[in-house]
């Protein structure tokens, strides 16, 4: 089982869209996938029409492996299951702060279902918190969507610095890609060129475009490939999946 976190310390960069479409693309390619929604707003679950879990409340997520496994729901797509979030997830940091080994808790919870899945995708809330440190610890790869703007460039730097200074996590886990790209904007093109130069090998080749198809996921409540398969956005997520897979296969299995 490989754990891939979709993470950004900045909001509105397309994390959930990435998690949802990437999970779908991996499942379509034959991998057994669990999409774990860590964001109390529950957007990932919403896109798959899965209702918030009612029983996986408070500390149960980290302490009750049986309840954790029972909260998983099959999506409407083959090979793809969802662990939906609920509002109690917003207090994760409070629960974690009271626990021992509080940077390893997420990893432990996921381990209990490791046999069922090849890939676990984490849709993470946008902050640097104790939960985020758990994510950095547990994930094999941290996929970071970056909008090619100055502000995003700054938050990306902050993330790498944080990983350097605080987390035990290896900075090498970070795999970034450009998200919500508008090619016609000079600023986007320039920022991408500069960042690719500053962070060689950090960015994947794929660029996910800014697209109304992605916005329409909200009305379809389904991954973009299911209703706009031939459109650029769907193709980009598929390409993202392929590139990631190639990277994963390049790294040795634990």
């Amino acid at each position: 089982m490989k754990i891939i976190a979709c993470y950004s310390n900045k909001g509105g960069v397309g994390k959930t869209a990435t998690a949802v479409n990437l999970a779908h693309a991996f499942a379509q390619s034959g991998a057994r996938v669990l999409l774990c929604d860590l964001d109390p707003q529950g957007a990932s679950g919403f896109y798959f029409r899965v209702k918030p879990s009612k029983k996986l409340l408070d500390e149960a997520f980290f302490k009750d492996t049986e309840r954790f496994a029972k909260a998983i729901r099959g999506s409407d797509f083959d090979n793809l299951d969802i662990l939906p979030a609920n509002m109690s997830f917003r207090d994760f940091d409070v629960f974690l702060s009271r626990m021992k080994h509080n940077r390893e808790r997420l990893g432990r919870s996921l381990k209990s279902v490791a046999g069922d899945y090849d890939i676990v995708l984490l849709d993470c809330p946008p902050n640097i918190s104790m939960l985020a440190e758990n994510v950095f610890e547990a994930a094999d790869h941290i996929v970071v969507p970056v909008i090619p703007t100055t502000l995003s460039e700054r938050t990306f730097e902050q993330l790498l610095d944080f990983l350097d200074d605080h987390a035990q996590a290896d900075k090498q886990k970070v795999v970034a890609f450009f998200s919500m790209v508008q090619k016609q904007k000079t600023l986007h093109a320039e920022t991408m060129a500069r960042m690719r130069e500053t962070y060689p090998d950090r960015f994947l080749a794929v660029e996910v475009p800014f697209s109304t198809d992605i916005e329409r996921m909200g009305t379809h409540r389904a991954p973009v490939a299911t209703f706009a398969q031939t459109r650029p956005a769907a193709k980009a997520y598929d390409e993202l999946q392929r590139e990631l897979r190639a990277r994963m296969e390049g790294t040795t299995d634990d």
Binding site: R49, I72, R73, G74, D76, D81, R221
Partner: protein
């Protein structure tokens, strides 16, 4: 593609699907056009016997079990499992006989639809693939439901399953019942039917029963031999006739002397024309093994030999088909059927009224003693004829035990037959190698080839084969004494005595 179903239900007819099942809405996909299907199985129903059903629809093969649906592209009818493209269906069928071809059990039309139970947000909680099979013949329409649960929605799956099964579910049908439901006219085939023999039944009746049963088995193979689907039709035909012949010759005194002689002749007449055809089948089935015996430089000669075998087999088959379709054959078979039909009377012999159990014990014990007596004489130096004698008596012993099997506890017989079969394996190979050497020599003498070069190539290859077969025969010969010792254990001896030795014998 493999689809593990949460359960497969077979329903008679069509359940009406309502709009709502519990709190969920039922959505049935628009059904597609009907497509033709054929149900395939081997003649011995080996697919049905492993609780599976193989369906061909267009270019797709689907294998159903009670818990999964496997599909792969390709066609199957008339082909052998080994010839199918690699795929999950082929892999799941690897336990079936490689010698049996896939034949059409029946055909009809198939329609697929999908049923999903969705909640108020349009999320699916359970699914079912609905397949409606409408047979061409007199059978009934069957609905196959392959239930697919989604993780975390167990209640919906249970509700859907209960709903489809209905309020008072009859006994659940399994995949193995599919043939009877769809194609009731299809006659089931058992190559080894067990005749029921009561212990106090008289030997004469038991003999008649066994012969009648196996005569029917032989007849069930005639059409397949004529169509030449695979080698096993002829094989089963011969096994059935051989069983009958062994009843006639081994059930001493059941029939009068003249009747016995008459029956022996009649069944020999049936067997004789099959011999060469079967030999050729055996050569051709073992073709790869023959090639493996020789280095590649000698394969050309083998190819020439097998080309001749193939042509000869074609002739032999045509000849035998002609015989099977001839009025004389039909009359001969009908006469035999009438003779053994219930209520009819072949001429009884002095032992006819002997109760079967006692009679069986007498024959088996006598034969067993004879086997032991011959074996006791065999050393490394004993001439081959005596080994053949042992082989023939072992065979008779085996036939007797198998024919009277219904009279004895199954498990105990099995335990006796196992070591006997191992001994027979050794003796059988010893015999096969010796017969094949003679046959190849004879073949060479009777098949001169026009081109001198070919003649030489074939002679070289056959010569090499004979040398190898000779060596193998010697190896088998060297094992005989040890093989018998393995068979002749104190436990086996005790068991033979306890099962078959009568008081005072």
């Amino acid at each position: 593609m493999t689809k593990v179903a949460s359960g497969i239900i077979i329903l008679d007819g069509f359940p009406n699907i309502e709009e709502r099942i519990g709190k969920l809405t039922a959505r049935v996909s628009e059904s597609k056009d009907d497509i033709p299907f054929v149900l395939l199985d081997c003649h011995d129903e080996s697919i049905r016997k492993i609780d599976r059903a193989l369906m061909e629809t267009g270019e797709t093969l689907t294998l159903l079990s009670n818990s999964e649906v496997l599909t792969q592209p390709g066609k199957g009818s008339g082909r052998f499992v080994a010839d199918l493209a690699d795929g999950p269906t082929k892999r799941a069928l690897k336990g079936t006989s490689p010698l049996r071809s896939l034949l059409v059990v029946g055909s009809g039309m198939l329609n697929h639809a999908q049923l999903a139970l969705v909640d108020d947000e349009g999320k699916t909680h359970a699914r079912a693939d609905l397949t409606v099979l409408t047979p061409d013949g007199a059978g009934r329409t069957v609905r196959l439901v392959s239930l697919q649960g989604l993780r975390g929605y167990d209640k919906a799956l249970a509700a859907l399953s209960a709903y489809l099964r209905g309020p008072a579910p009859e006994k659940d049908h399994g995949i193995a019942d599919l043939v009877d439901m769809l194609f009731p006219e299809h006659e089931s085939y058992d190559p080894k039917p067990e005749t029921v023999i009561a212990p106090d039944e008289i030997a004469y009746d038991a003999a008649n029963d066994i012969i009648r049963t196996h005569l029917a088995v032989a007849r069930r193979n005639e059409a397949g031999i004529i169509a030449d689907h695979d080698s096993e039709f002829l094989h089963d035909y011969r096994v059935a006739l051989r069983k009958i012949r062994s009843v006639i010759s081994l059930f001493r005194g059941s029939y009068g002397e003249a009747q016995t002689a008459d029956l022996k002749r009649r069944f020999s007449d049936l067997m004789t024309p099959t011999g060469r055809l079967r030999d050729l089948d055996v050569y051709l089935l073992g073709r790869d093994a023959f090639y493996d015996l020789l280095p590649e430089s000698l394969h050309d000669g083998l190819r020439l030999m097998f080309d001749i075998f193939i042509r000869e087999r074609r002739r032999e088959h045509r000849k035998f088909v002609k015989l099977l379709e001839s009025p004389q054959y039909r009359i001969a078979l009908t006469e035999l059927e009438v003779l053994f039909a219930q209520g009819s009377r072949p001429e009884p012999g002095p032992e006819a009224a002997h109760p079967a159990q006692d009679y069986a014990c007498g024959l088996i014990w006598h034969r067993y003693r004879k086997v032991c007596k011959i074996a006791a004489r065999i050393t490394e130096e004993t001439p081959d004829e005596e080994v053949h004698e042992l082989r023939i008596n072992c065979k008779k012993l085996r036939y007797l035990i198998e024919l009277f099997a219904p009279l004895f506890p199954r498990g105990r017989l099995k335990a006796l037959l196992l070591p006997l079969r191992e001994l027979q394996e050794n003796l059988g190979l010893f015999n096969d190698y010796s017969v094949q050497q003679a046959a190849l020599q004879d073949f060479l003498a009777h098949h001169p080839l026009k081109a001198q070069q070919d003649e030489r190539a074939m002679a070289t290859s056959i010569g090499a084969l004979i040398a190898i077969l000779h060596q193998r025969q010697a190896q088998e010969r060297a094992r005989v004494v040890k093989s018998f010792e393995a068979f002749d254990s104190p436990a086996t001896r005790r068991e033979f005595a306890s099962l078959f030795r009568r008081k005072g014998a």
